[in-house]
């Protein structure tokens, strides 16, 4: 059993007429429900829910404050390498673009880490382009060894790996895995991923599950919104999250809502995801999965982010550069353009002004290479 079976079922739904089937009564029923089911989720994502965004927001806000309180976890991505063997039509790191590629040395990783840690952040998400040759799991592990000296939690966003490779990185001290499917709709996926191992849809779709099997504490998934019809993509993402949460209850399953942003190329996405649509997606996620973390990136403009913090978001990136070594080196190529350039301090101040507490540290790396945890009768 894999989520692929659910995807196959979803793609047989009559999407052309499906969304118009839902009525205001269906939306109200979902809003009253103790636990929103798949039908309720679809009602909340349907056009019938659009007049109910305020009611959805009020409930999402209450649920978020109850389960997460008045706190917002902050983190930042660190780009280690931008070598990539794929050609994805929407990404600056695509192998067809000719720019000087970079890969940080361990000394540069340390310098970058020092710069970021000085802002107070203790959670880091490390990223690479997708190239097993240039940034293999062994390179990531070496970088993690360095980063553990600076951060209390390290997560990865790299090309899909095997369960054994994920387990090796977990042992090395990686707590979390972020891996976006980019596009759940299979036919569109094939169209957008022109060349390279990323073309293998199922390898990517099943990778978050391999991360759960390997024992990561948290696994974060998402669709790159705008690549296909957003209602379907949001439905698939939410059901994927629930599938993982049901099957791996010990793992924290989180959701992200990245929207397409300008990059080096000229691809224009098929689906325009408006601010209202983004809000509807975030609210539907919160009502469907009340305890799941929802991350918001600097792809969104500052003014919008300031409003979204009250609607279900629990994690935000801050002080972001999407260039390799962008915090301490010069002259990289960003993966995409960000919209919110505020520093960590400025983000923290914005959160405080809204009655929220910025949380820089929410975990300690507990892996023990020396085997300490096997002592004291616990072996």
């Amino acid at each position: 059993m894999s989520f692929y079976e659910t995807m196959t079922r979803l793609e047989q739904l009559p999407y052309g007429t499906l969304w118009s089937r839902y009525t205001a009564e269906d939306v109200k029923r979902a809003l009253r429900a103790e636990q929103v089911d798949e039908e309720g989720l679809m009602a909340l994502l349907s056009p019938a829910a659009e007049p109910y965004l305020e009611e959805m927001a009020q409930k999402a806000h209450r649920l978020t404050r109850t389960h997460f309180g008045h706190v917002m976890q902050l983190f930042t991505p660190m780009y280690l390498a931008d070598f990539c063997v794929n050609h994805c039509t929407y990404c600056s790191f695509s192998s067809i673009y000719d720019f000087p590629r970079k890969k940080l040395t361990l000394e540069q990783v340390a310098r970058e880490a020092e710069t970021i840690a000085a802002t107070g952040l203790r959670h880091i998400l490390i990223l690479t382009g997708e190239s097993r040759r240039d940034s293999p799991a062994g390179y990531v592990r070496d970088c993690v060894d360095v980063l553990r000296g600076y951060f209390s939690s390290v997560s990865i966003e790299v090309n899909p790996l095997s369960t054994a490779e994920y387990a090796e990185l977990r042992e090395a001290g990686v707590d979390g895995l972020t891996l976006y499917q980019e596009v759940y709709h299979q036919e569109t996926y094939r169209t957008l991923h022109v060349k390279g191992p990323k073309r293998v849809y199922r390898n990517r779709l099943d990778a978050p599950e391999r991360g759960c099997e390997a024992g990561f504490r948290s696994v974060n998934i998402g669709a790159l919104l705008g690549m296909y019809e957003w209602r379907q993509e949001a439905l698939a993402t939410a059901l994927h999250a629930r599938y993982l949460q049901d099957k791996y209850p010990e793992c924290e399953i989180g959701l992200s809502t990245p929207r397409f942003r300008p990059y080096l190329g000229e691809f224009n996405p098929a689906s325009d995801v408006t601010d209202r649509a983004l809000v509807q997606i975030i609210l539907a996620y919160r009502l469907f999965l009340p305890r799941s973390g929802i991350s918001l990136s600097t792809r969104e403009p500052a003014a919008l982010r300031d409003h979204l913090v009250q609607l279900g978001i629990t994690k935000m990136s801050a002080g972001v550069s999407t260039e390799v070594g962008g915090h301490s080196l010069e002259g990289g190529t960003p993966q995409f353009e960000i919209s919110d350039n505020r520093s960590v301090a400025e983000m923290a101040e914005m959160l405080r002004s809204q009655g929220l507490q910025p949380v820089f540290k929410d975990w300690d790396i507990l892996s023990e290479p020396l085997g300490l945890s096997r002592q004291a009768g616990l072996a």
Binding site: T66, H70, K361, D364
Partner: protein, 254 residues
Amino acid sequence: MQDPLMIGGVTLTSRLFIGTGKYSRNTLIPEVITRSGSQVITVALRRVDPESSDNIVSHIPSHMTLLPNTSGARTAEEAVRIARLARSAGLGNWVKIEVINDQKYLLPDNMETIRATEVLAAEGFVVLPYMSPDLSAALRLKAAGAAAVMPLGAPIGSNRGLQTKELIRILISETDLPVIVDAGIGRPSEAAEAMEMGAAAVLLNTAIATASDPLLMAEAFRAAVSAGRKAYLAGLGPVEETAAASSPLTGFLA
């Protein structure tokens, strides 16, 4: 009225334990402590950052008994590791064991909790395990060296009250460890009810931290816990199905 609670060699006059999570700012914590009258405060080690200028522990007055918790632990091994980290960080030798494998409902894993309790009690920790209210587990926790048991009233952060009331009643009746109702209490009346039942104390966080006025809510819980405890000590009158006449009609037969 002298009615102290003794745990781990510490004498407590307040039976309201509070938390540090979910506040809009850490600077609220000292005032919440004052208004609640609490003497025990739990803090998640995972949130403690000694290098931060806003380190959560720096907001806790020195007279408080710190109860570091193992929030985030999924296994006994992780809980033990966190407890040792807390002690080595200078947070004392009290620990609230929290081992949660279920990220959907955040229900505790009693088996792993018992394993962690065995190890930590043997190492000299004052162990207060958060648990699902199960009598067998409570007895095993006692045998493992727990200083109290902390059954949940309802899932963490749910504010649903004493959903597990009957099971907690059994724990109070059948164990001689202090029973501290932890998690789920959303209203002062529910805290009072737990105390009326004979709970030794209650621990709560969400109900105060997410109230519109946390300081006033802290006062409300202080009064409720005190009232519930007094009612328990006073001995509640029996509950009758039918009205009991205060002037019996057959009294002349005596």
